[in-house]
Structures are given as structure tokens and as C-alpha cells.
């Protein structure tokens, strides 16, 4: 198997790990870590599948991954702010398991 193949398969493993972490972890910071790892896995598949080609590496997936990295950091930043604000109001950095019952708007 080619080197790129290793990375594509590692990407699949990272996707699975990220999904598992997202489902299992309760702490929101960890959920955000899991989303980031899931994203890294998708990016690895995207580039790793390009594989070694005679015409050199394909720049289009590279550009897509750079876009993806910037989107990921934006989403992470928003998620962290949300987590902090939620912790300030509810006292816990986790999501409640049940649907909210109280009135929504003050």
C-alpha cells in the first residue's frame, strides 16, 4: 500500500474516534476536541486519497483543506464562547440530557 493510503486510512480511524468522542464525552470542551479530530480525519481522507500521482500532488484538495481548517477554527472559537457563556448561566460545562422545560425568553 502507498504512503498516502496509510494516511487515508488513519483519516478513517480519526473520523471514527471523533464520532465516538462526540457521542460519549459529556464535557463540551471534549466534544469540541472530538469535532476537531473528526475534521482532521476528513481532511486526511480528502488529501490522502489523492495519492501519489505522476503529475504531482493535486492542489485542489490542498486548497479545500486550508479552507476547512479556517472554517474549523471559526467554529471552534464560536463553540468555546458558547460553552463559556452556557457554563456561566447553568454552572455546568455540559448539555442537559432532557429537553428544556422552563420558559425560553426572559
Amino acid at each position: 500500500m502507498s504512503a498516502a493510503g496509510f494516511y487515508a486510512l488513519a483519516g478513517v480511524a480519526l473520523v471514527v474516534l471523533g464520532l465516538y468522542g462526540l457521542a460519549v464525552q459529556a464535557h463540551l470542551l471534549r466534544k469540541l476536541l472530538a469535532v476537531n479530530i473528526l475534521g482532521s480525519g476528513v481532511f486526511l481522507v480528502l488529501v490522502g486519497l489523492g495519492g501519489p500521482a505522476d503529475a504531482g500532488p493535486d492542489p485542489v484538495p490542498h486548497a479545500m483543506v486550508i479552507t476547512g481548517i479556517v472554517v474549523a477554527v471559526s467554529a471552534t472559537a464560536l463553540g468555546l464562547v458558547l460553552m463559556l457563556k452556557l457554563t456561566t448561566t447553568s454552572g455546568r460545562p455540559t448539555l442537559e440530557d432532557d429537553a428544556p422545560r422552563e420558559g425560553p425568553e426572559a
Partner: protein, 494 residues
Amino acid sequence: MSPVLLPDLPWEALLILLPLTGAAAGALWPPAARAIGLLTTAGGLLLLAGLGTAVADAQTLRHAVGGWGAPLGIELRADALSLVFLTATALVGLGVAVYADSYFERSQARGFWPLWLFLLGALNALFLSADLFNLYVTLELMGLAAVALTAFSGGRAALSGAMRYLLATLLGSLVYLLGVALLYHATGTLDFSLLTQRLEAGPAARTALGLMGAGLALKTALFPFHFWLPPAHSSAPAPVSALLSALVVKASFYILVRLWLELFAPLSGLEGAGTGEVLGWLGMAAILWGSWQALRQPRVKLLVAYSTVAQIGYLFLAFPLLTAAGLPDPAAWRAVLWLVLAHALAKAAMFLAAGNLLRFGGHDRIPDLDCVAQRLPLTVAAFALAGISIAGLPPTGGFIGKWLLLEAALLQGRWDLVAVMLLGGLLAAGYVFKVVGHFFTPAAAGHAARPVPAAMEWTALTLAILALLLGLAPAWLLPWLDLAVGPGPAEAVP
């Protein structure tokens, strides 16, 4: 080239650039954000009229961004299908913008407008994109804007709903992107038309279908991926709830429809029919579960949110309906597009009306609604009219949509779909009249009432009336929808 008075402009590009530029300008100069927000939202309707006439002329417009063309560059595409969704966006968007102008305090409003314009720009960009990766970027732009708007009021429930929504939407987009990665490496293109020509059935195509379908179903909140929707949609500020339920869930549904109709269903050798059946079952489950939950909810906004879960189910009933040749049934898809429009208008009206009830009484507990029929007649009329459309009773837009869908299911002898649709309609009538009944009864305890601005009442009513008018104008709309879902079964078989 066009016989009407509109000049030949790049409408697609303008529809995307205008709101996004407005968002940037509003961020730069917050005091002008309100004026910019209202003007660009209204301007979008004009641009849409221009695009509509152009599409009526040419049927499909393609715009090669950067001048490169597929597969190297990104292409925009406007056709009747995108026009249906763009129209819903423009109408609901304008109504909600007018509503939001009265709803938010002045200091709050400055933050609202740029976020709303980001959402509008992302929706327009999404409905006009013909490129799978570009769709991913628009999905993320839309998702983050929607999450920010959900959390906007800052209460505990809203923050928790927004956080759940953020995680769900990120997960959905990334899973979709994984499918895009597979398709890109299988075909060497991201463009829809080229993919249609190049994609062959195989493990890659099958896995991509599964991944993209799952990711988009999660973002559309199809049962059982609906867990994030009721908390987010019920806790967001009312105008935001309207946007989320009416438009944002439809955006990922739109991509799913495009993928299904253009890529996967026609792919011979790929057992697309099996996937269609699964989506149909999930749709049926969504109708029953969502309606049942809606019936049990003690609060108006939660009830309306669960009603969205149920109504999304109807949109998925067209997937299992196929023609004799095994192709998607245009009659069923025509019905679904009708339902998309009707649901967007009616659901927006319902959430805006619910917002009025909240503003008025300070709560939206259904049993404690205190004779609001006499005190907020316009709001009550809006809620009732929109509810009739949601329940699919004549003569509303929702009735026509459900009738068309029922007809398609009957023609194919799908009695399971027919039964679920009828049961769902009964349950919907039940939960709508449960609320409406409490409008007329006095509550046990009196509550302090706050005045509701007239603009907020009238926008809710206008959207509800539009949903009603939709039911009276089938002759005008049906040709468009036929254009959108492709030729009928007779022409499709070679």
C-alpha cells in the same frame, strides 16, 4: 433578450453579494446596520424578480465564477428548483426582517442585522451553488449564522439549544464533506452536471450516498436525527425560530433533493430504491412521532417546533415514490416543493404569532393563554390560518401540497404512506386546535400584559395569508414546479 423591462444583469451573483456586503458593512458601522439590513432584505426580493424572469427565459442559468467553468472553477446555477427555495427565502426573510425590527431592542438589533444578513447571503449562495465543496462552505456559513442567532437572546435554554445545534450542524457538515471527498476522488470533479455524467455505481458512490444522506438528514432534523431541533427552535428568539424552521432546515433538504434527483436516483446499478425506502420510513416515523410529541407539549413554541419535526417528515415521503421505470416520480416531487413553500410561510407565521403571545403575556404556556382572541385578534387569526395550512385543510397551500402527495401515493398504491399522511393530518389538526381553543378561554390566573407592536402582528398575519393564497393559485404555480422537478414519467422513459 428578455421581453420585460428588466435589464440583463448577473442576478445570481448580486443575490449573493448584496446581503454579504450588507453584513460586512453592518459589522463595520453598527449604527447603520438596521437601515442596511432592511434595505438589502427588500432589495433581495427585487433581484429575485429579475432572476425569475431570466430563468423563465432560459430555464437554467449557469454562471462560471472566476470565468473558469467546471471542473476547475465553481459554477452557480439558477433553475426553477433553486427559484422555489429562493422565493421562500425572500418572502419569509422580508417578513421576519420587518418583524425583527420591532422585536429587538435598539442596542440588541445592531448585533442582529449582520448575523441575519450572513444567514440570508449563505442561504442564497447555497440555493445557487452547483459545486459540492462550495455547498459545504455555504452550509458552514449558514450553520454558524443560525447558531449565533439561536444563542442571540442569551438565556440558558437558548444557549444550551444553540450548543446542541452547533455540534449537530458541525457533525452533519463534516460527514457530508467526507462524502464529497469520496465523490471527488471517484470522478475528479465537484460540479453537479459533470458528476451526473461521470459517476458510476460502486462502493465509493454507495458510501458517499450514505454519508451525504446521513449528514444532510442530520442537518434537516429527519427523525431520529431531530433531537437537536426542538430545544434550538423553541428557545431561540421568535424571529430566529421562524427563520430556522422555515428556511434553514430546508437548505440541507434542498441539497439532498438535488443529490437524489440528479446524481443518485438515476444511477443504474446503485440500489437507490433501498435508500429511498429508508428515507420514506424515517419520514413516516417523523410524522407520527413529531405530531404525537407536538400534541403533548405544554408550550406554544415547543409545540410548533415539534410540528416542524413532523412536517419535515412529509418532505421525505417522496423518496420512496418511484415511476414504473424506477425513476423519481415527478408528481410526488412537485407536491414536496409545494409543501416546502407552504410550510415555510405557515411555519414562519406560526412562530411569529407565538412570539407575539410571548411578548404579550410574558409566557407561552398553552393552558395559561388568557382570552387572547379578544386582545390580539390579528395574531390569533395568523396562528389559526397558518395552523389550518399546517394541518393540510382546504383551501390553504398546505392542503394542495398534501393532496398532490396523497394523489401520488394513491396512484402507486402506497397505502402505508396514505395512512400515515391521513393520521398525521388528524394529529396536526388536533395540536393546532388545542392551542386555538385556549385562545378563547380565560386562564385561571390573570397576567400582566405588554403591548405588541402592530408591525409584529401584521407580519405574522401577512405570512399566514400568503400561505392561504398559495392554496388559491395552483394554476399559476404548477408549471414552475413541473419545470423544477423535470419531465413527467412519460417523457423520462426513452
